[in-house]
Subunit: 492 residues, 2 copies
């Protein structure tokens, strides 16, 4: 069979690529580092996007749209932010092509159409948005401004991976403006909670909430909050970030407001984002060597029904029964497909739906109908069961919830098993090399030590967990005093 | 009042800009020719997008996402298409900025980060999509491919107008692949019908369906179908296009399929799109000198309720009654807002909601409550009426339908009044200059004559209407024989 995939044990990285390509989530494109999101992958992203969008709106945010391009002079206004992204920006320098005089039918960039000022394709939109907010904010009455944008962004990464790191990706970026520091911090934390809620309850992936060290902060932020997830190979993945930006952007773009006492002050800011990278996290957190395993709440298809029959007559009987089952499932809002493609055998279809991670498969034949039964197969546990057709829709509805819950608990158990404590350097290295996962260890709090640990082990500090208990100890590398443990891991 | 707007009679073009800006649909940006779509405008676009997206899915299409960038060598593969867009393309030539050695804190394009091959920011996606389809299509079993994409595109226009013509805009582009010419033509026409259905029944704007002359065709199409709408100043606006692309792109990108007899042939193609330009059409088709008038089906807010009260005690009584009305309206799926902002008087609020085109306004005071009544004001006709609170939600529900219907009929009556026939050149010019609208006239069928007419009058052939009756006559300009009338107009 052409769709065989590499096993995790043989080559985890190839396994991931196989799943994305053969599961029809995405494809490589003719553009370096850019991917094509295929219809099945896009349907998954749409479900994720719609769930998040509703959560944003329920917490008082509205959507808007800002330009793709950032004039260089605006881009460089907030220096740290500019420095952080300058090395990976696509730059528009010209606005016209013309016929190549030496090569009929070919085009060249028209040197006469050079832009006076170059345009940066947005790698993130703080600059263009804060230059706009300047015109929108005068008084405390204009605050808070709670705006989100769904958009494409471009970061010219040298080493790319489908979904995980691509030159262009889709994301949402929230950009809020507040009258006080306190309110902005509350917003930053609220959106981190929204992300954690979404990733855990929709994607069934447990996360650890924390803050980044200064080294790992978003360029231009005073504090970067994050949620960190664990993949099946023991590597961590940053699943979302929420930044408290202080007054940095307000100062760079001169955005002031007059408060109730008519006193002028700079506005306080946050920004927060998640991207199509989450699709990569989803794939790596749950899937197995047979293919994708998608959580029911966001799976494009939740149930597939495969008919088992010989001849037209049996088919007609099965069709009729399936129609009724489908109607009942749809009435409960369940996304179901009848795979009655005549050109493929049931076994081929089973493998195909396993590859694509459809949570529940029903196989229904004439003999089952006689017994008023149907075979129900779970994708996650591979369990098969014969179930009465009486009340089958309610049964499936409950089963989807059970699968969602089971997937989360399984991922959580794996994660819990893979948080270890290290008290010596040898222990630390051994855990990273042999077990993987998060290693909780003492660190002396300096960026230099963090860099040195990264250099020696490729592990980074994923976060300082929220509500981290204070604990006196010695830095794993330098032996200098430390007041708390932090979470290290190798990461995507 | 600061929000006064220019009247249509005084300056139609300024009136339009005032509406877009003061109605808070969009704003100018720091990037030449690009706009910011503000939250209210974006909510309107979301409603339009969601309605269209459902119509696409109901007709069997799925969404996907293709790269923003098109390598120059792909871009130039379909020569006519490339030639049509080459003059207005944003070109990415570099992928990095670096610190300016002569200017601390500033950045310059890093000359060492020049791309080997320039990237065109997509002005439309046929090239990148058909280069991808080549890998997806082998056999007739892979067809039809019915894919749509929601995306931003960039066309470097020299003269821009908010929504109507911007360098970057949001749109959808459908790209389908078929086994036969006939099937592709049917698809082209089907999507034109979907567009007409949407623009007429959701936007309440009547359209004329037709085909473009060769001069006005999409670059690379064999046939361009269009829907044409009429604005209140008598100018036409192309509201959507659906292209039959023949085998042009399949040949340019070598996309062949084997049919049931195992014979190889090039694939047949269509593409079709509508954009944020439709928001401009909506504004210009319906609004008046007091502000926007939005059709209920896509209005971000359908009903606003303004309380009339003196003191906290009256307010509490009104609040309670409003809560019940809101609950009943929401139960019917009506988008309603309670504007109980304490800082503004009712008169100011009335003007604000008129500016923003909210279809229905309720004003409710303590005295109304005593009589169990409420004042209902329609935005479209400005009619006010006192209505019993008994069954008010059902009344509003019906009223919204009535407004939707009335807006369409009003626009249709205006359009019908502005289709005239001209039989001589003088008549033709006089109609264009004095009455505006569509002028139905004979044309000799040549591109040269079409150009000459455009040169002399600024009018273009908007379309040859579908099912146009044959009629022998003489060309309005050259007197040469003609077999049918076509529709001319000055246009956006």
């Amino acid at each position: 069979m052409s769709k065989e995939i590499t096993s995790r044990a043989a080559d985890y990285s190839q396994w991931y690529n196989d799943l994305v390509i053969k599961g029809e989530l995405a494809d490589y494109s003719a553009v370096r580092g850019c991917m094509v999101i295929k219809p099945y992958g896009y349907a998954l992203w749409e479900n994720m996007r719609d769930a998040l969008d509703k959560m944003f709106k329920d917490t008082g945010h509205v959507n808007a749209y800002f330009p793709l391009f950032v004039p260089k002079s605006l881009f460089e206004a907030e220096e740290k932010n500019a420095e952080g992204f300058a090395k990976e920006c696509a730059i528009v320098t010209h606005y016209r092509l013309k016929a190549d005089p030496n090569n009929k039918g070919k085009l060249i960039v028209d040197p006469e159409a050079k832009l006076e000022e170059e345009l940066v394709v947005r790698p993130t939109s703080e600059a263009i948005i804060w230059s706009t907010y300047k015109g929108w904010i005068q008084s405390y009455r204009d605050l808070p401004l709670l705006i989100n944008q769904w958009a494409n962004v471009v970061r010219w990464e040298m080493r790319t991976r489908l979904f995980l790191r691509t030159a262009e990706f889709l994301w949402q970026e929230g950009h809020t403006a507040h009258a006080t520091r306190e309110e902005a911090v509350i917003e930053t934390e609220k959106m981190l909670d929204v992300y954690a809620d979404f990733v855990e309850n929709w994607m069934a992936v447990p996360v650890i909430k924390g803050v980044k060290t200064p080294n790992e902060r978003f360029a231009g932020a005073e504090d970067t909050y994050c949620i960190e997830a664990l993949m099946q190979d023991g590597k961590a993945l940053q699943a979302g970030t929420s930044h408290f930006l202080g007054q940095n952007f307000a100062k760079a773009f001169d955005v002031k407001f007059s408060d109730k006492e008519n006193k002028l002050d700079y506005v306080w800011a946050t920004s927060w984002g998640v991207s199509t990278r989450l699709v990569g996290a989803l794939v790596m957190a749950h899937s197995d060597d047979q293919g994708l395993i998608l959580p029911p709440r966001i799976a494009p298809l939740q149930v597939v029904i495969v008919p088992i029959y010989k001849g037209e007559e049996q088919k007609a009987v099965v069709d009729k029964a399936v129609k009724e089952i489908m109607d009942n499932l749809k009435r409960l809002g369940i996304r179901v497909k009848y795979d009655d493609n005549d050109n493929a055998r049931p076994g081929w279809k089973f493998a195909e739906h396993e590859m694509k991670g459809v949570p529940v498969r029903l196989a229904l034949g004439a003999r089952d109908l006689e017994k008023n039964e149907v075979e129900v197969a779970r994708r996650d546990t591979k369990e098969k069961k014969t179930v009465s057709l009486e009340g089958i829709a309610q049964y499936i509805d409950g089963l989807l919830l059970e699968i969602q819950d089971y997937m989360y608990k399984k991922a959580l158990a794996y994660r819990e098993e893979h948080i270890s404590s290290a008290n010596t350097w040898d222990e630390f290295v051994k855990l990273l090399d042999e077990k993987g996962g998060f290693v909780s260890a003492h660190w002396d709090g300096t960026g230099e030590t963090e860099d040195a640990i990264k250099e020696k082990t490729k592990a980074t500090i994923r976060c300082i967990p929220l509500n981290n208990p204070p604990e006196a100890g010695q830095c794993i590398l330098t032996g200098k005093p430390s007041t708390q443990r932090v979470l290290f891991a190798r990461a995507y």
